[in-house]
């Protein structure tokens, strides 16, 4: 509690040292690894922006989108879905008992989207023009789903930022500004859900343009629906998973409300996740049926598709159901991780593995180690910033000065 009242200036000053050192002021293996990742990431960043995409990536004319789109963008956006699912549950569907989970979820979402945008700066050929918002200011390609995704991500990032502002404002003690920000909550939540619905689904719809390149088992006119529904499952699972992770590392930072509400939240989310995953499984089956692609199942790609569908959709659905029935938090946490892996697998399948399936193996894309390293670098940065914020600002607990002011 005492640390929380640190002034921002103090906090900033101690950032660097605190990030890299554990409590005993010694370099732990984890901290060492972090430093290595940051150093390598920085070098690769310089390499990327001075030598070009070709120097760092394995991207080719046949595979223009690689790891940074498939993982950083596709998975990043899906896994940041916890923000809108939780705030919608709490503020719109009246599940007040999840109130304490909203802030961590919003923070994760905000940082997740920030990483997405930063990754895009790495990925596009002319990041300067992305920063200058060419698609929105210079010339608008309104028939593009990417335009829609971009616009929604931009707006949603703003929404998330506004939703997030009460946290630093409380930290900074700016009561008036904070109260205005809090008043906006409902509007922002609705806005956020609408934007999330649009861009989560449109991310899937991006691939609608390429029926000849994406394997028919993954290609479906319902791609947008698949992405949207699975993003809800991803969001729910991420909240469970990230709660668990934070619990381990930041237990001392958690307020009473959060600690009390967390176990019922996990159960409630597990129920919801089971339901959503069941729905997702059903729409996937509808997808195969609609295109009558059953005959493709007994092929190597078909088996891989079944691994994804049965192993990473049906199985976690069942495990969530069993877990919530038996109050088995351990099982639920396991299922959450399993679901997250499944969603990541799905996004990678669509963007990389089942994409360009018609090409011979030697013409296929495999990410270079540098692309993977930069993705890890991004995730590491996200975790560090997350840590920085939650150890200082009122995220897992309530600021003592503002305890009674929320609805």
């Amino acid at each position: 509690m005492s640390e929380q009242k640190n002034s921002p200036a103090q906090g900033m000053a101690g950032v660097a040292s605190r990030f890299m050192k554990d409590d005993n002021d010694k370099f732990s293996p984890l901290a060492t690894l972090t430093v290595i990742i940051l150093v390598v990431g920085t070098i690769l960043t310089i390499l990327r922006f001075t030598q070009g995409l070709g120097a760092v990536t394995n991207l080719s004319d046949t595979h223009p989108w690689g790891m940074w789109i498939g993982f950083d963008l596709m998975c990043g956006v899906a896994l940041a879905a916890g923000g809108y699912t939780t705030s919608a549950a709490c503020y719109l569907f009246g599940m007040k008992k999840y109130h304490s989970a909203v802030r961590p979820a919003i923070l994760t979402a905000f940082l997740g989207y920030a990483v997405v945008v930063v990754s895009l700066l790495y990925d596009v050929g002319r990041p300067d023009r992305l920063i200058l918002a060419y698609p929105f200011i210079v010339q608008q390609g309104t028939t593009s789903l990417l335009f829609e995704v971009g616009l929604c991500v931009l707006l949603y990032l703003t929404v998330l930022f506004l939703e997030f502002t009460p946290i630093p404002l409380e930290w900074l003690g700016l009561r008036k500004a904070r109260n205005i920000a809090v008043k906006l909550t409902l509007v922002l939540t609705i806005f956020g859900v609408v934007l999330s619905t649009l861009h989560q689904s449109s991310l899937g719809a991006l691939f609608l343009i390429a029926p000849s390149k994406l394997h028919p088992l993954w290609y479906s006119p319902y791609l947008a629906v698949f992405f949207f529904v699975s993003s809800i499952a991803a969001g729910l699972s991420m909240v469970i998973f990230e709660g668990t992770l934070s619990h381990k590392a930041l237990h001392h930072r958690m307020g009473k409300e959060y600690l009390e509400e967390h176990p019922p939240l996990v159960l409630g989310y597990a129920k919801a996740a089971a339901l959503v995953l069941f729905g997702y499984f059903m729409v996937k089956v509808v997808g195969i049926t609609a295109d009558n692609n059953w005959h493709l199942l007994p092929t190597p790609y078909g088996i891989w598709f079944l691994v994804e569908l049965l192993g990473f959709v049906a199985l976690p659905c069942l495990l969530f159901a069993v877990g919530s029935r038996n109050n088995d938090v351990g099982l639920i946490k396991f299922s959450a991780v399993w679901t997250i892996i499944g969603i990541v697998l799905n996004r990678l399948n669509i963007s990389m593995i089942a994409f360009n399936y018609h090409l011979p193996l030697e013409e296929r894309y495999v990410p270079s180690w540098m692309e993977i390293a930069l993705s890890i670098f991004m995730v590491t940065c996200l975790i560090l910033v997350f840590r920085f914020i939650v150890t200082r600002m009122p995220v897992f607990d309530e600021h003592p000065d503002f305890r009674e002011t929320h609805e």
Partner: protein, 530 residues
Amino acid sequence: MKKPGHLFRWTTITLFCLGVFLSTDLQGKNQSTGQGQGEQRADIIIIDGMTSWGELEKPSVEFPHDAHTEALAIEKISCDKCHLKKNESFFPKFKRLEDKDRVEVMNIYHDNCIGCHGEMRLQGKKTGPIECDDCHREQKLYVSSRQPVGFDNSLHYRHVEVHEKKCEQCHHEYDEKTKKLFHAKEKEGTCRYCHKEETQENRLSMRISSHIACINCHLKNQEKNPLNLPVKCSQCHAPSAWQKIKKLDPVPRLERKQPDMVMIKTGDEELDAVGKNRMNLVPFNHKAHEGYNNTCRVCHHQEMKKCNECHTLGGSDAGKGVNLELAMHKKDTDHSCVGCHAQQYKKNKDCAGCHQFTPATARMSNRSCEVCHIPLPEGVELNDKTAQLLLDGRPQKPDTYRQEEIPEKIVIDKLSKKYEAVDFPHRKIVNSIVEKMGDNKLAAHFHAEKATVCSGCHHNGPLTKQPSGCASCHTKAFNDKDMHKPGIVGAYHIQCMECHATMKIDKVGCVDCHKEKSPQLSSPRNKGKE
């Protein structure tokens, strides 16, 4: 975990379902990829006769017939181990003369196949399978390479010789009244007159009847004949075996009282009368055409009738609506005169150089009609002698201008940009074309006019001694008033190169015709000499 039992149970069930799902699909995968990978054999008989009673319960059986023949030959067991006799001849069906009902047929196979295999196994001999799925295989072991065997004029003549012209040994007809087979001398037809694809009433299918006739005769004469008479599947049905069948050259004529020369008539007596025919009747060299083809069926379909019996002037059902005009002139078939002749010059590389440019839609010239429809001199009768007379009167060699009348060289220099001018060896090319026609009769009849040879290149213009040059019509490329016509550069290249390619003339590289102007820019290339 509170209730690990629950979790374990559910996981097990899920994994089990997953397993079942995957394994069934894997099986399916094997099935789909297993096609077309087996050993190729010409003797594969697919036993699926029971399909006539509905869907098979198990996959059909592949039966390698020669393997059985050979195995039994070692044991000195004759064909009657498997085949019943009907009228002293082995019947092709397995242990039965006809298919009565499903169960009976099934039992015949099961009892005899498994019985024999079992017996051999008891005796410790190498034998076939006795388990259901080893015969009824989902994944086939073999690929049938069986090809239908032809009975061409050469083979026919050899049979005529062996049978001492006793046609009745094979040829017969059926008398409806006496219900007996009889031989109609000099009216012999092909087997397919009566024996169709499928057995109809008392007429056996072509497949069964031919096997009864050929194999039984071969078996009976096996010892008498020094030649190895074919009785095994692979001796007739494997294309590799065909080379071993002796070919006669030339093939002596079939004797069936067919004409040597004949006037092709319409079948309408009034129109066919002297002086009444509106179109000159065509004299036809039947004897020569017998030599051009290896079976009569090339022209005559299944029955040895006159064309106009079915292909009447107006068309008839028997002629499948193809009237006489079409039967003789239809281009896209090899049954008609024109169609078959067109095939000749498109297939023959010496002809195709020029003739590849003849569009399918092109109308035949009026002059070409008279090549066949020869005007009848006055005062002659319409008989085979007249036909002979008319045919002999046709030009027997292609003709063209005298050497000094043909320009020797033409220099094409107007277009030279990147390449130097072309010295076009005009006379050499004309001579070469004429030479390639040789003594081909078809070519001789149609290239009798001197300018005809010229029209291979100087197309779409009048036949004259001085036809127009390329640039008369071909000018600048892509004239939107006539998009169909190539420009001058394209015209040269298309005409020369496609002709060279088709005639397999090795000069198709750029510098084969014109030298490059600035050799320092890029090295000369030569496609043709790869």
